[in-house]
Symmetry: C2
Subunit: 300 residues, 2 copies
């Protein structure tokens, strides 16, 4: 079982990791940076309104004030986003982190044809949950970006998640494309896609993992449940990555793991040239740290 404590230790040992923060002039963002610097997770380049950033650091983060943090001035969030993206595309930083800038504005710079981080693949959201009630850690994708992915997009979403799982130390993750049932039902597209993805994996069209679906949630995460139904296979009861069929299913799973399961969470956007951390105000300081550590471990 991969734990965030181990991922944080792994991130600490990743020498020379640098995070570029787009629009760092924000208390909550700097709080996360402060925690990460204290843990020696990475170096940071804070892009944004230099005066505001310095003032916030001086007022609220004495430890950060004492450390060597680079600040790159940008007069507005748009240019901060573009400069932060440039730092990553030039190799000066290995992780992009969203600060006080709208997600759409940041992603516009990420997808900029000249200086952006495009790979041609879809960008997708990958969340890792440490779930106490089942004593398991599971990746969930995509609970936030792709609304209703088709088969081709699902392939890329899986590959994006596999890359993050490898970074977190899960060598050959098992992937369960989720559906409402375990059998193939022509009336349920999720089951058809799951069958196709499983076979694409066997034919070498999806690599670095073992795909096995469709599975319902219980048969993907509980060996007891899978056993009761007589379901066997590499992901049955022990899936590392859960692929959801829609953003609604993903959002419900994400929120369920948080509200009913009291899980720890960290998440990154995968599929660009470097991992992107998109924390929001609603995230706890702990989950922001987890997201940063996950991104640092998987920067490439």
């Amino acid at each position: 079982m991969v734990r965030f404590d181990d991922i944080i230790i792994k991130a600490e040992s990743t020498a020379g990791a640098t995070v570029a923060v787009a629009s760092a002039e924000d208390y909550e963002v700097l709080k996360a940076v402060d925690m990460a610097v204290e843990k020696k997770l990475a170096d940071f380049i804070l892009v944004g309104d230099e005066e505001k950033i310095k003032k916030l650091i001086h007022e609220s983060f004495p430890a950060l004030d004492q450390s060597i943090v680079r600040i790159l001035h940008a007069s507005n969030p748009q240019s901060a986003a573009l400069e932060a993206v440039k730092l990553v595309s030039s190799g000066a930083a290995g992780v992009l982190m969203k600060g006080h800038v709208e997600t759409a504005v940041l992603l516009k710079s990420v997808l900029n044809k000249e200086v952006g981080l495009r790979t041609g693949n879809v960008l997708s959201h990958v969340a890792l949950f440490e779930v106490p009630s089942i004593e398991r850690s599971i990746f969930v994708t995509d609970a936030a970006m792709n609304i209703s992915p088709d088969l081709t997009q699902k392939v890329q979403i899986i590959q994006n998640a596999v890359r993050i799982a490898h970074g977190a130390g899960v060598k050959n993750p098992s992937v369960a494309p989720l559906a409402a049932v375990e059998t193939i039902n022509p009336a349920m597209q999720a089951t058809l896609d799951a069958a196709a993805l499983t076979q694409m994996n066997r034919r070498g069209q999806i690599t670095g993992c073992v795909v096995d679906g469709p599975l319902a949630l219980d048969n993907a995460v509980s060996e007891t449940a899978a056993g009761h139904k007589g379901i066997t296979g590499p992901a049955a009861g022990k899936a590392d990555i859960l692929l959801v069929p829609s953003i609604e299913a993903g959002n419900i799973l994400y929120k369920s793991l948080m509200y009913f399961g009291n899980s720890k969470v960290g998440a990154v956007i995968s599929g660009a040239k470097a991992p992107i951390v998109l924390t929001s105000r609603a995230d706890s300081a702990e989950s922001k740290l987890h997201s940063l550590a996950l991104a640092i471990c998987t920067s490439y």
Copy 2:
């Protein structure tokens, strides 16, 4: 908060409730009947192979053996299903319970044009969860029957669930059509349907409840989460009924509430002339009893 203990008490006080069991020649089914009879929830008419039923009762359920249980012989599951349905359509029983017969076979009899229990409405699955981690009880619909309901079907699914909620003692339930976000997004059909359902409720096209959506799961069940996002409304943080946009989302929510939330559950099929109990082998004895109690409370 509505609790299964109260629903069981309510079912006990429902004088003259009778349950017709289709194909009762099964140990697990008779175990549920035995528990229900011991609790004095209802009278039962056991339809099926008389010899097998009597043998099973005599061998394994001494209390049931002593009580007055009517047995109606049927030579095979198909005719048992039809006879059990007839008992309900004739008024001799108020609840239909699935025994050792395939769901498809039972539903074929339910939908039989001459003696069946058709109302013209869709049949839908309504599950009630008592969720310890949020100290709330919530209905979830439809996690099992309708794959990807359209707006018209969602209206009927809501009305079917409202009927069950009323039966369970929730007078004017708040209904949250779930989506991945709380705002209307033309690219997300779930949000458009949610807006339409909310307004249909205001215009008197959906009655007996208050509809308010779209809501994401957290903002539907947690007043804290709704408050953080500044979301107000009759269902925000206190929804009684969660309408899921697809069977996949519903199945994931159902399983999450069970596996991550350790919830108690009971479920019925609503939309026919009488509630139908479709328990499966995987259900615990407790959940079978909950389902029976819920159905008895809402028989009409």
